[in-house]
């Protein structure tokens, strides 16, 4: 128990002191994960909705693959991105390895399948209700996808949050492609890993508490906005 007490006091001490280095790490974590979520949503939402609506050969296979990719091990994603972005890899000339951009790419790859697969599932339920009506109206494919995403927006907020949660909590991939460089690619999770390896268990757990609070804050904000929107729009 004393470990936990120490962890919480470490967390509070950290928050109260609000060191600039902590702010930097928290800020970088949020930036990277939010951009990754944005990119993954731009790809995953239309992809998921399209998979829910259109019937084509190989669709079932694609759905199964997408569902399986939800369990993609972060370390594997990290390795693949590392090999691609490495100077000796196909995109080596871009010089992106060990930069925040590399971390965004890894997180985007990691969470796009999650967002796409969950979107497909919830959109399909809505599509069952709308299909005949849209067919009768002659709604074009693009309009159909947009309308389904918009009408499903309240449940998609949860989908996007699931993606954000996975992105911000992930350590394996960003460690490999970011390199955990101080002031450049050090984020919450890699700091926790580093402090653990230094035997600073209380500090590591304290950082974990802060990460949890952040996740809680983001989720609470999204929930409140969502509830308000549901009340307004029904």
């Amino acid at each position: 128990m004393s470990d936990f007490n120490e962890a919480f006091s470490a967390a509070f001490a950290l928050i109260l002191s609000f060191e600039s280095s902590l702010a930097e790490i928290v800020g970088l974590s949020l930036q990277i994960s939010l951009i990754a979520v944005l990119l993954a949503s731009l790809i995953g939402l239309p992809l998921g909705a399209a998979l829910a609506v259109f019937r084509f050969p190989g669709r079932t296979t694609l759905v199964v693959i997408l569902n399986a990719l939800m369990g993609l091990p972060p370390v594997v994603v990290g390795l693949i991105v590392y090999l691609i972005l490495s100077r000796s890899g196909p995109l080596g000339t871009l010089g992106l390895l060990f930069t925040p951009t590399a971390m965004i790419i890894a997180q985007t790859i990691l969470i796009t399948p999650i967002i796409a697969a969950l979107t497909r599932q919830s959109t399909e339920t809505l599509w069952n209700e709308y299909a005949e009506q849209f067919s009768s109206l002659g709604t074009p494919p693009k309009e159909t996808v947009i309308a389904l995403l918009w009408d499903n927006r309240f449940s998609l907020v949860t989908t996007i949050l699931a993606g954000f949660g996975r992105a911000s909590a992930e350590v394996g991939a960003v460690m490999i492609v970011g390199g955990n460089i101080d002031h450049v690619t050090r984020v919450m999770t890699t700091t926790i890993a580093l402090e653990t390896s230094k035997g600073n268990l209380a500090l590591a757990l304290g950082l974990g508490v802060i990460l949890l609070c952040l996740a809680l804050g983001v989720n609470a904000a999204a929930f409140i906005i969502n509830e308000a929107a549901i009340k307004r729009h029904g």
């Binding site: 970088l28 949020l30 930036q31 990277i32 939010l34 951009i35 979520v37 944005l38 490495s86 100077r87 000796s88 890899g89 080596g92 000339t93 010089g95 390895l97 060990f98 930069t99 925040p100 951009t101 927006r153 907020v157 996007i160 390199g179 955990n180 460089i181 101080d182 450049v184 580093l194 653990t196 390896s197 230094k198 035997g199 600073n200 268990l201 906005i225 969502n226 929107a229």
Partner: protein, 279 residues
């Protein structure tokens, strides 16, 4: 529409800020180094001194020696700063690096249970050499953890086992020998919770906070000296290597000023790194 717009806007602002950060970053080089130098806090002490003088940012990627060498081989670093001379020379011979200079040394120590009932079951503290210390651990079948990765520390440990037992023990052969497959810190955490012996570099040990009942039980054997070397990644092999900047850093760390800075670094009031670059 409002919610999506808000979300988009926030992400956009974040994105702009981030890319701003990246492009605003000054000149930098990437140094592939080991966890010992990062975890001990040495770089935190050294680098600001260098950067304020030369305006060059040093981005340190701290991994095991073996992995650091692979990172450098692929051209993902400009400078390699590790501690396993044999591998370093092989790296240069294969044409991946240019020149190799001694920078400093620290030493390895054997830590193990040093308090309470389980106090030093192998009596490592009473041995005269690291070889006999290892033999004592093997004979008493006391639990010994090793990193089991490609690190300089693990390679050092294996070479000692080789001399002591004429063979390297393996995890699946004997119950007392455990390879953790992870870094020095993680291995120390495991040793601490299992009251096991392990070989660690002194710097990492000094900065390690979760010692539990572990203590240094054996130290100061010539075999345990741990030499660090620095190598520039070969620009002929990887064209993007920032040769000039890499030279600036290497020259500084080998200079009187850089060497003095290393010797001045104190961890818990103790000197753990000893500069020994050839003049």
């Amino acid at each position: 529409m409002k919610l999506a717009a808000k979300f988009f806007l926030i992400s956009l602002i974040a994105g702009v800020t981030l890319t701003g950060n990246v492009s605003a970053a000054e000149r930098f080089i990437v140094v592939a180094s080991t966890t010992s130098t990062v975890n001990s806090g040495l770089f935190d002490y050294l680098l600001p001194k260098f950067t304020s003088k030369h305006g060059l940012q040093i981005r340190v990627v701290g991994v095991g020696t073996g992995q650091a060498i692979r990172v450098a081989r692929r051209g993902d670093a400009d400078v390699l700063f590790v501690h396993h001379k044999k591998s370093e020379l092989a790296f240069v011979r294969a044409g991946f690096g240019v020149g190799r200079s001694d920078v400093m040394f620290n030493d390895f120590v054997i830590v193990g249970p040093g308090k309470g009932k389980g106090n030093d079951p192998a009596k490592v503290g009473q041995t005269e050499s690291v070889i006999s210390a290892y033999k004592a651990i093997a004979n008493s079948k006391s639990i010994f953890t090793s990193r089991g990765d490609d690190s300089g520390t693990h390679k050092k440990s294996l070479s000692i086992w080789q001399t002591a037992l004429k063979m390297a023990p393996s995890s699946n052969g004997v119950k007392w020998y455990r390879e953790t497959g992870s870094g020095m810190g993680a291995t120390l955490n495991i040793a601490s919770s299992m009251n096991a012996y392990t070989l660690t570099d002194r710097a990492t040990w000094e900065n390690f906070k979760n010692k539990g009942e572990l203590k240094i039980l054996f130290e100061h054997d010539p075999l345990l000296q741990n030499q660090y070397g620095i190598i520039k990644v070969n620009p002929a092999r990887h064209k993007h290597v920032k040769s000039k900047e890499a030279n600036t850093f290497i020259n500084w760390i080998l200079s009187t000023e850089g060497q003095a800075a290393i010797n001045n670094y104190r961890l818990n009031t103790k000197q753990v790194f000893f500069a020994n670059a050839k003049k």
